[in-house]
């Protein structure tokens, strides 16, 4: 304890001295810190409530959601000068039924001001065909197809009176990485340069994304549950992926 106090005493003047010479926004390149991302699951602006609440799709059809899970991976940050940092081994499974999964922590990120973030909605090509995985990619999570190996990137299950499936179910299992049915999509968003993501040794910012589950069903093609209520990869999954590619996530704000 005492030793660290001496260190601090020694360190403070150095920091102060150096901060006089440098721009205050600049930080040493070799320091690392942490930031977090919160994914607030919604449906058209209302909080996502599983199982009970009724929502409407773009066609005006009622539906309920029982399961909503998706992968966010290969998170890449960019600075205004164009330099980028790909967060290694960044694979996260967000599950609306598990509150703790909706707030993810990114560790050991080089400090700096980031003005752009991009990530894969789903899992990159290589990991779909790799050997046995663990963590977010563990097949135990129910997001791995065993008969046509590869990950389900986005899974939405529910019901709609309009669905012609048995039990009026909705089954949207979006995945597949081989053309023409490749559903890997990358989401990119610029961050307001006036309030960038400031990763600091003394600051652990939080990015807040709003996630609109209804984006699966509108954007490029409005989906009617009367005609499309079940897809597990293939051409119909591509329609859904093209819908959510830009509409699923929206950066709402950053707490620096």
């Amino acid at each position: 304890m005492k030793l660290s106090q001496y260190f601090l005493a020694l360190l403070c003047p150095i920091i102060l001295l150096s901060s006089c010479k440098k721009n205050t926004d600049e930080v040493a390149a070799d320091t690392q810190s942490t930031f977090s991302i919160e994914f607030e699951n919604q449906v058209n602006g209302s909080p996502l409530v599983l199982n009970t609440k009724t929502y409407k799709n773009a066609k005006g059809e009622d539906f309920k959601i029982n399961v909503f899970k998706y992968y966010v991976s290969n998170i890449k940050l960019s600075k205004a000068d164009g330099t980028t940092y790909l967060i290694p081994e960044s694979y996260f499974l967000i599950d609306a039924s598990k509150a703790e999964s909706t707030n993810i922590t990114l560790k050991d990120v080089p400090t700096g001001d980031y003005t752009k973030i991009e990530y894969t909605i789903g899992v990159d090509y290589a990991r779909n065909f790799a050997g046995a995985q663990t963590g977010a990619l563990d097949p135990i999570n129910g997001m791995f197809w065993t008969w046509n190996s590869g990950y389900i990137f986005v899974k939405l299950e529910g019901t709609s009176p309009q669905s012609t499936a048995t039990g009026n179910t909705l089954t949207f299992h979006i995945g597949g990485v081989i053309d023409p049915n490749n559903t890997i999509r990358t989401f990119t968003t610029e961050i307001n340069a006036a309030n960038p993501l400031r990763v600091r040794t003394d600051g652990k910012p939080n990015m807040h994304f709003k996630v609109n589950a209804a984006a699966l069903f509108t954007g490029k093609t409005d989906v009617s549950f009367a005609t499309l209520n079940m897809t597990m990869g293939g051409a119909n999954s591509v329609i859904v992926a093209n819908n959510y590619a830009n509409g699923l996530f929206r950066l709402d704000h950053i707490h620096n």
Binding site: N128, G131, A132, Q133, P139, N148
Partner: protein, 336 residues
């Protein structure tokens, strides 16, 4: 640092001591007449303990829903790890699957698995059989829980991977340490090809080999006796099983299946994806006169493969040189 290196040296020598002198070190080596493998154990270090655990899991029937079916139930060593006399796989609750069990060997050279090539990595292959309602009818979560609570498994995982932690990744990696080590490379054919100690084909076998190279190798390519492609060999005008198109969603793949290996063919009856032919005679007669004009029939089979009686006998004589008795009887691979 010095202490660390001493500790490491000690750990190494200790590990070596654990392998008793009579216990054979499990290795994976590439046969002289085989190309480089696809699976190299790079991310799954092969060890005796890992292999032993994988083998035990392979033969563990308690992993299935009704505790009646293990991997080894449908993959029997005496049948080169397919299921003798079963047209289709026979799973839990006496459920009959829809396809013939493929044999298991030389899997380290294979890029895709199952008749339709749906699974692309040897490590994730068992998940298909584990979860199929007509095979083991369970899920990996249940298996993890069972193994955590069932001695001696936690100890076996510790020996294999250094920790009593059990998860799906370690389960699958240990099974791959067993299945990828299954190499069949000691058939008479292999020994002739490697020019081992004066072994040669009989005149009938040689005639069969020459016929084979003329009529069959474009699909059943050496040394694996498959080119791993997906083709229709005209079994039916309209295939009842969609085959490869179930995976690709492409109409031109309807009714296509992976060209099966012919190694150990003497012991892997019945034949074809649905096990419709019980004998090699039936198979050869299919190519002679039985090929039907399926919509996606392979162009090379447009006119079938005309074979007279002598030619059929010669080809059969050659096919039997692909039997690897050393593999089939290797006690290293047997349930212990």
């Amino acid at each position: 640092m010095l202490f660390l290196s001493i500790a490491l040296m000690y750990a190494c020598s200790k590990n070596e001591d654990e392998v008793t002198p009579e216990e054979k070190k499990i290795t994976f080596s590439v046969p002289a007449n085989f190309p480089a493998p696809v699976y190299s154990f790079e991310d799954n270090k092969l060890s005796n303990a890992g292999f032993a655990l994988g083998k035990k899991l392979f033969y563990e029937a308690r992993l299935s829903a009704d505790k009646s079916v293990s991997c080894g139930s449908c993959h029997q060593q005496f049948a080169a790890f397919t299921q003798l006399d079963h047209k289709v796989s026979h799973g839990v609750n006496n459920c009959q699957g829809k396809r013939n069990t493929p044999p298991l060997f030389n899997l380290a050279w294979q890029k895709a698995f199952f008749w339709d090539g749906g699974v692309k990595n040897i490590e994730t292959s068992p998940l298909n059989a584990i979860t199929d309602a007509c095979e083991m009818g369970t899920d990996i979560q249940t298996i993890v829980a069972f193994l955590k609570n069932t001695p001696p498994y936690p100890d076996l995982f510790k020996q294999a991977f250094g920790s009593t932690e059990i998860n799906s990744q370690l389960i699958l990696k240990s099974i791959a340490q067993f299945t990828a080590v299954l190499v069949s490379d000691n058939s008479k054919y292999d020994k002739v090809m490697r020019k081992e100690s004066g072994i040669s084909f009989t005149s009938a076998e040689l005639a069969g080999y020459n016929l084979f190279k003329e009529k069959c190798t474009s699909c059943h390519t050496e040394p694996f006796f498959t080119d791993f492609s997906y083709r229709s060999n005209g079994l039916d005008l309209v295939s009842a099983d969609e085959g490869r198109s179930h995976i690709t969603g492409v109409a031109s793949d309807l009714g296509k299946f992976r060209v099966p290996t012919l190694r150990n063919i003497e012991y892997t009856s019945p034949y074809m994806h649905d096990g419709r032919f019980y004998s090699l005679d039936e198979v050869l007669e299919h190519y002679n006169l039985g090929v039907k004009a399926s919509v996606n029939l392979d162009v090379q089979l447009k006119n079938g493969i005309p074979l007279n009686t002598t030619e059929k006998e010669q080809i059969k004589a050659f096919l039997k040189t692909l039997t690897d008795n050393e593999f089939i009887k290797n006690t290293l691979y047997s349930e212990s």
